[in-house]
Amino acid sequence: MTRTQELLLALLGAVLLLALAWAVPWLRFVLTVALAKSLAVFGILLLLRAGQVSFGHALYLALAAYTAAFTAMLIPEALILLPVAAIASALVGLVVGLFVVRYREIFFGMLNLALSMVFYSLLEKFYSITHGTDGMRLPPLRFAGIPLEGEFQGWVLLILAVVLALGFGALVRIYLASPMGQALAGIKTRETRLEFLGVPARRVLLAAYVLAALMAGCGGAVLAMTTRLVTPALAYWTASGELVFIAILGGAGSVFGPVIGAVAFELTRVYAAALVADAWQLILGSVLLLVILFAPGGLWGMGKALLSRRKIA
């Protein structure tokens, strides 16, 4: 697929999402949440390039969401909350990253998990500050000074999420084609060679890790502003597992994967919850199994295969 085709597809996808949100108003919220999560899944995709899976990436989503919640008490302005939360998340990603990039594979995955669970417990324990499992409500917000209410709030946040997903999708795409991104993929196959090329593999991974934290931070901020409620559950290990699930569901081979995966995941969840409330986990498990067995390229890989088959036929 050429770069122009990808760009057109991305724009088409954005228009489709907005059209869907317009046709079915209650989906606006669902789609915004899906896009917010896809921002974090972009990070999972980056780390997967290096052959590493983080089972604690929701840490950054939650961290940013809480940062947004606390900052909103002082300045309830979306255009401030977003960068503040993203930068806070990136900074923590830098500090944590310096430590975790020394490890690989199962140790990398589990260390991330452990740290996210530490954060979860802190959120739960410090009731006086965080209100524990009750979580924190965000006050009414403004966007560029205009109060965010009702319909307007829904649209502003959805469009913000669409713009962020397009922007970071493009960034990740460019990053992966750059020497830094290609070296990242080199960590997966031959880390020794990187060192003998004079390339510090850990710093290559650290750069990706910080970018992943930054993107999850943006996702967390959007999530907090959309739901207006943040709880420790955001950092719970199942939330991290969900991000990895979405990455595999959508397909880790392309930047389209995270967005397709997240949208499919949230839509399925909403409808499954309505139709077969108790079978949700079962559906989740079965879908994951099917994808791993029959469509290792995820939904994106399936779609691409279908398209190219049609072209040949």
Binding site: P179, Q182, A185, G186, L197, G198
Partner: protein
């Protein structure tokens, strides 16, 4: 001629096994030095110590007059010591061209997240590099789809891309089909001479050694058993018995 690399009293034991047992060696600027010796003699261990991959328990190594012992492989590479591997270390999910491009990019630092790796300047240099090694026909193949000989060459090409002053090659011709071997070595030697690289290479083929080495060092049980010009060393009765006794006679009379 001055010594580009000098090793003194290198010792390294794995448990009771002495892989290096007092190695003293000077590699002269501009020479091609062959290392021969039986399996397990400690040839690879010497390369590993020189490139910072293993740390000797005693001794010193100087490169261009500077002590390099204890430095990381990365620092040593930056000083101008390149290496290729007994088992080629390629990025197996990348194409040969991408492997070469990464090596070319690595020379000037890879920290550009926005410009593509395959930008014209890097691509052209990588293509020229592969061309010099006769690897152009396989440039677009994935590295794990190559035969052993091409993998070896690609591995060396990546080291050469960094423009080292000293190149350590661990069995560059093993795995290369016998019929192609001399042609491959000739290509290799031409590239290295063009780039004015000082080379140390571990080699099991005495014909290659006789033809291309300026000097030969014979390794045995972590020590250097003999060192000198190929004619003398390869005809030394003890060396012939211990290291090359089983090899065909005519190898030694190959043209030099």
């Amino acid at each position: 001629m001055s010594a580009l690399l000098s090793a003194r009293g290198l010792k390294l034991a794995f448990g009771g096994l002495k892989a290096a047992d007092g190695i003293d060696l000077d590699v002269m600027d501009g020479e091609f030095l062959a290392i021969i010796g039986p399996n397990g003699a400690g040839k690879t261990t010497f390369i590993n110590m020189t490139t910072g991959y293993l740390k000797p328990q005693a001794g010193s190594i100087e490169f261009d007059g500077k002590p390099i012992l204890g430095m990381s492989p990365r620092k040593i590479v930056a000083l101008g010591i390149g290496r290729s591997f007994q088992l080629p270390q390629l990025f197996t999910e990348h194409t040969v061209l991408e492997n070469a491009a990464l090596a070319v990019a690595a020379r000037s630092g890879i920290w550009s997240p926005f410009a593509p790796l395959m930008r014209p300047s890097i691509r052209q240099e990588a293509e020229a590099l592969l061309d010099r090694f006769g690897l152009s026909p396989v440039a677009d193949r994935r590295a794990d789809a190559l035969n052993e000989g091409a993998r070896k060459l690609a591995d060396i090409a990546m080291a050469v891309a960094l423009r080292p002053r000293l190149l350590l090659m661990d069995e560059p011709t093993s795995g290369v089909a016998a019929a192609d071997k001399m042609a491959v070595v000739e290509t290799l030697v031409r590239v290295l001479r063009e780039s004015r690289v000082t080379a140390v290479f571990v080699e099991h083929d005495m014909e290659v050694v006789a033809r291309f080495a300026d000097r030969v060092a014979v390794w045995g049980q972590g020590r250097i058993m003999a060192l000198g010009d190929p004619q003398t060393v390869l005809n030394d009765p003890q060396v012939r018995r211990d290291v090359i006794g089983e090899l065909p006679q005519e190898a030694l009379h190959a043209p030099t």
